[in-house]
Subunit: 341 residues, 2 copies
Amino acid sequence: MMNSLPECSVDLIFADPPYNLQLRGDLHRPDNSKVDAVDDHWDQFNSFAAYDSFTRDWLKAARRLLKPDGAIWVIGSYHNIFRVGAALQDAGYWILNDVVWRKSNPMPNFRGKRFTNAHETMIWASKAEGAKYTFNYEALKALNEGVQMRSDWVLPICNGGERLKDDNGDKAHPTQKPQSLLHRVIVGSTNPGDVVLDPFFGTGTTGAVAKMLGRDFIGIEREDAYRKVAEKRIADIRPYDNSALQVSTSKRAEPRVPFGQLVERGMLRPGEMLMNARGQMAKVRADGTLVGDGITGSIHQVGAKLEGAPSCNGWTYWHFKREGKVVPIDVLRQQIRADMQ
Amino acid sequence: MMNSLPECSVDLIFADPPYNLQLRGDLHRPDNSKVDAVDDHWDQFNSFAAYDSFTRDWLKAARRLLKPDGAIWVIGSYHNIFRVGAALQDAGYWILNDVVWRKSNPMPNFRGKRFTNAHETMIWASKAEGAKYTFNYEALKALNEGVQMRSDWVLPICNGGERLKDDNGDKAHPTQKPQSLLHRVIVGSTNPGDVVLDPFFGTGTTGAVAKMLGRDFIGIEREDAYRKVAEKRIADIRPYDNSALQVSTSKRAEPRVPFGQLVERGMLRPGEMLMNARGQMAKVRADGTLVGDGITGSIHQVGAKLEGAPSCNGWTYWHFKREGKVVPIDVLRQQIRADMQ
DNA sequence: GCGGACGTTGAATCTCAAC
DNA sequence: AGTTGAGATTCAACGTCCG
C-alpha cells in the first residue's frame, strides 16, 4: 500500500508498529484474574531477524513517502524500540529526540520480578541530517505552562470513555493510544492542512486527532475489524474551528523588518543617538547603520562589538528616548509589523 | 583488560560507554556564553559501523565475565542507546526493563529547535532468556514510598559538592553520573559481597557507591587522569556499617512518604542516627528503614512502637543533627519536593 | 546570620534566508 | 553549494556577594 502512494507526499508519519512482545504463557494477577495480553497474530515474529526485516522494509517505504522537510514519529517499548531506532539511523533518518511517554497509570508488575513498565519510548526523526523539519516550539511551550517542553511527557493511558469497545463490550484494539499523545505530536510537528500518514492505523487515533486539528490524513490498516471501527469513529469527529487551530508562533515566523525602515519612515531621525543598558551611545545614520565608539555597522554588529560577543540582537539591545522615557527600538518594529497587517 | 579476567566471575556490570554524540561546531547560550561540550577524543567514532563494532566487542567480553545469574546495566542517550540495545539482544542478553532517568535539572535546548533533552535511558538485562537474576524488589519498594518501583526514576544530575573537580577547579570528568543513580542500581540488583564490574570506570562513581554499600568492584579505565581521581576518591570512602546494609526482604506496611530518597540522595548517610524528642536514637539503613531499640521498620513504624501509639508521623517525630543543630527530617523532604516540581 | 540579587553551569547531534 | 549576516534563544541548581 505504501509503495503505491506518490513519493514525497506526506508531511508527517506517525507509526505504532507491532512491538514483537515475545510473551510466553499466561499472566495472572495476585487475585488470580488473567491479564488480557497482546497475543494477536500480527504481533508474532519468528526471530529478531524477521522483525528487523519487516522494520527495515516499512521504514524504507515510509522514507520514500516523506517530503524532504517531513518527519517521522515511531512509538515502541524495550522489546522493539532499540531495533527500530537502529534501523531508523541506518535508513538515513536523523534522530531529533527520543521522547518518553511516562504513563500516569501503568499496569503494575504483578510478580514483583521487575520494575513497573511505566513508560513507552517515541523516536522523532527528520528525513536526513540537516533537513528542515516543523517544530512549533512556542505552541508546545504554551502547552507546558510557559516553560520549554521536555523529552518526558506525563500522560494517562487510554481508558474510560475514550477506549473503544466492540459489540461484546471488549476493547476493540489491544493497544489503543491516548488522543492526548497524538495531540501533542501533531500540534508540535505539523501545521493545519498538512498530510499525516499512519501506516499502522489500528482503530484510527491518528486520523481522529488529525481530523480534529484540521490536518489531512492517510491511514493504512490490514485488519478489517480495526478498519471498520476507525471509519465509524472518524466519521463522528467534528474538526475544531479554524480560529482555534491557530497556535503561538515564534518571532522567527514574523516578517523581517530592516532597521533602515525606521529611518525611512521617520520613526528615528538620522543623527539621533541610541543607547545600550550601560549608557554607551551610537549615532543613527541615514542608511540605517550605526556609528559609535569608532565602530560602524548594523545595529547587531555594533552591539556585538561593544559587548565582545559573537552575536547580539540589536532590536532589544538598543534604546531611544521619547518624552523622557527610554524605550527599546523593538517597539518601533512592532508598530511597523502592526501596520503591515 | 576484560578478556584477561576469568569468565563467569562478576555479578553485575554497570557500563556507561561513550555516547558517540557527533556534535558539529559550537553552541552558545542566549547570554552568549559557550556551552562546554563533550568533545573528548574518546567520544569520537568515524561511523555508526565503527561504533557498532566497538559496542559488540565490549558487550561480548562483558558477557563472558558475567556469572550465569548476573546482570548488566548500560546507560546511554538517543545517540547510541538504540544501537546498544539491539547489540545486547543480538549478543544473547535478555532485556528485563529499560529504565528512564528523568533529570530534574537538565540543560535546556537553547535554540528552541527541539525538546529539552531531559532524560537518559538505561537498559537492564540478564545474561540470557530464562536466566535468574538478582532483584531486591522489597528494598526498592521501600525506597519508593512503599509502592512498586517504576521504570522512570526522577533524580538530579551530578553537581554541587558531589561533582569532582580537578586542580584548576574544572570538572574532572565531563559526564560524571550521580551517586543516587548507582545507589538504586546496586541496591536493586546486587547483594552485599557481590562483585560489580564497570568497564568504563571514569572517575569511579560505580566503585565509590559499591564500596559504600559493601560490594566488591572492578573498575577499568583507559585515561590516566580519570583513574587517578577515582583512586583518591574511593580511598576516602568509608563503607556503611554492615547492619545498615540489610534491606527489607519481607512484606510490610507501606510508609506514606519516600524516606528512602533521603538516603539515595546522600542527605542522610546509612548508619546515621536519628533521635526523637526524648533523645531515643534509631539508625538509618541503606534502604530507608530504621533500626532502634530492637525495633526495625519505617520511620513511622519505629516511632509508633517507641510511643506505644497506633500511629506516628515519622517526618515530624524524627530529628537529625547538622552543624550542632537538631532538625526534623521533614526539612529534607521539603527539599526533595522542591526538586521534583 | 539571613535573604535576595546575580553569576555560572550541565552527555547538545540547537538558525536560516539571501546572496 | 558555500558564505554572509540578521537576529532568535534557557531551566534548575548552586555558589558568591552584598546589604
